[in-house]
Structure formats: structure tokens, C-alpha cells
């Protein structure tokens, strides 16, 4: 597609529920990133995929968070047993390759609200 697409744009859920957020990167981009942005903060790194594998998941806050990218394109961020503190905007970005020195192209984000 023309840009990084994220769905849903808004998600309201109740504490304890399971949530999936989807990211469709720019066609041909091999690297995909998930960030979390809380109000008044900068994007916080969660996980990075190179192809199908998670190259760095050091930013995932705990084992309730999990992400997959089974075919090396679309990625899903999964959050189990959601907590109010998970409320944030979840940003996805893609990058063509290591050759472009980490230039990231961002989607508009999925705003998650946990009641």
C-alpha cells in the first residue's frame, strides 16, 4: 500500500479483556516495529521484526504482550488480560532494510483505551 496502515484506529475495551492490533506495512519493507506512546511521552520501543522473526523484543513490558508476523508482512500485536495502564497509542512503523539506516515510516496508530 501507499503507507503503513493500522487497524483499528480506536479500540475501547474492559480491563481483563484480550486485544489484537493489526499493522500492514509498506509493501516490500522487511523491517517492522511496534512502539507505544503514552500521553506527553515519546514513542517507547516494544519489538522489532526483520522478516518473520522478532529480532529484538526487549521492549515488551511483560508476558501479556506478544506480537507475530507469520508471513513477513502484516503483524499483529496481542495484549492479554488488559490493564488500565495499557491505555496508549500503539504505533507501527516499517523500514525497507538496514541499508536505509533505520529510517522508519509510521502509521497513524491505534489508540487503546482500557476501562
Amino acid at each position: 500500500g501507499a503507507g503503513v496502515s493500522q487497524t483499528p484506529s480506536n479500540k475501547v475495551t474492559e480491563k481483563g479483556k484480550y486485544v489484537e492490533l493489526r499493522c500492514d506495512p509498506i509493501s516490500g519493507h522487511t523491517a517492522l516495529y511496534w512502539y507505544r506512546q503514552s500521553l506527553g511521552q515519546g514513542p517507547e520501543f516494544l519489538i522489532y521484526f526483520q522478516g518473520t522473526g522478532a529480532a529484538d523484543d526487549s521492549g515488551l513490558p511483560n508476558d501479556r504482550f506478544f506480537a507475530v508476523r507469520p508471513e513477513g508482512s502484516v503483524s499483529t500485536l496481542k495484549i492479554q488480560r488488559t490493564e488500565r495502564g495499557d491505555s496508549a497509542v500503539y504505533l507501527c512503523a516499517s523500514s525497507a532494510s538496514a541499508a536505509n539506516h533505520g529510517e522508519l515510516f509510521f502509521g497513524e496508530g491505534s489508540r487503546l483505551t482500557v476501562l
Binding site: 506527553g40 515519546g42 514513542p43 520501543f45 504505533l91 539506516h101 533505520g102 529510517e103 522508519l104 497513524e108
Partner: protein, 113 residues
């Protein structure tokens, strides 16, 4: 570990005035440095980037930034600010050969007539 500090949370400038947003980074070797802008309701957009070579880099929308290794800084500048520049600006750093990009906490720019 790499990190970025943006000491100014909020800056107000008059339209037509010059602008400088500060960014200091921490990384053991030569970093890759970026400035992104985020307008309300929009995604992050890359303004400019530094990889190597000339330490003064030009970006979109009339912005420029200068890499100063001795000061571990990468400040963003614009000679004359326009009302449409009101947004939040993020500095980011990436280490060579390593894909993780670390962002600062951002500086919110307000432009007054």
C-alpha cells in the same frame, strides 16, 4: 544503552522568528540521528537524518540540524517559523548495525501570531 534527551518540553515562538530545538544523545560510537515531527492526529513524519559526512543536514519544510560530536548534540533549527510548524518534535537515535531506534520525550512547539 542508547538514549536521547530533549530538555525543552514546551517552546513558544512568534511566527517569523527563528527556532532551535535541543537534542542530546548518548551512544558509544557514531550514531544515526533523526528528527521526526508529529502533528495532531497524524503519524510521525521524518524531517531529516544524519548518518555520516557533512555535519549540517538539510531536511524538509526548511528545517536543518547540526551534528556536534563534541557536545553529543543534534539540534534542530529553522530560520523563520510558520504557524503550520506548530507540532511536537522528536529526536531519535539508532546505533550502527542495530535496528532499534530510541526516541526522546519530545518538544511541543507553539507558534503565536
Amino acid at each position: 544503552a542508547q538514549s536521547v534527551t530533549q530538555p525543552d518540553i514546551h517552546i513558544t515562538v512568534s511566527e517569523g522568528a527563528s527556532l532551535e530545538l535541543r537534542c542530546n544523545y548518548s551512544y558509544g560510537a557514531t550514531p544515526y540521528l533523526f528528527w521526526y515531527v508529529q502533528s495532531p492526529g497524524q503519524g510521525l513524519q521524518l524531517l531529516l537524518k544524519y548518518f555520516s559526512g557533512d555535519t549540517l543536514v538539510q531536511g524538509i519544510k526548511g528545517f536543518e540540524a547540526e551534528f556536534k560530536r563534541s557536545q553529543s548534540s543534534f539540534n534542530l533549527r529553522k530560520p523563520s517559523v510558520h504557524w503550520s510548524d506548530a507540532a511536537e518534535y522528536f529526536c531519535a537515535v539508532r546505533g550502527g548495525g542495530y535496528q532499534k531506534v530510541t526516541f526522546g520525550t519530545g518538544t511541543k512547539l507553539q507558534v503565536i501570531p
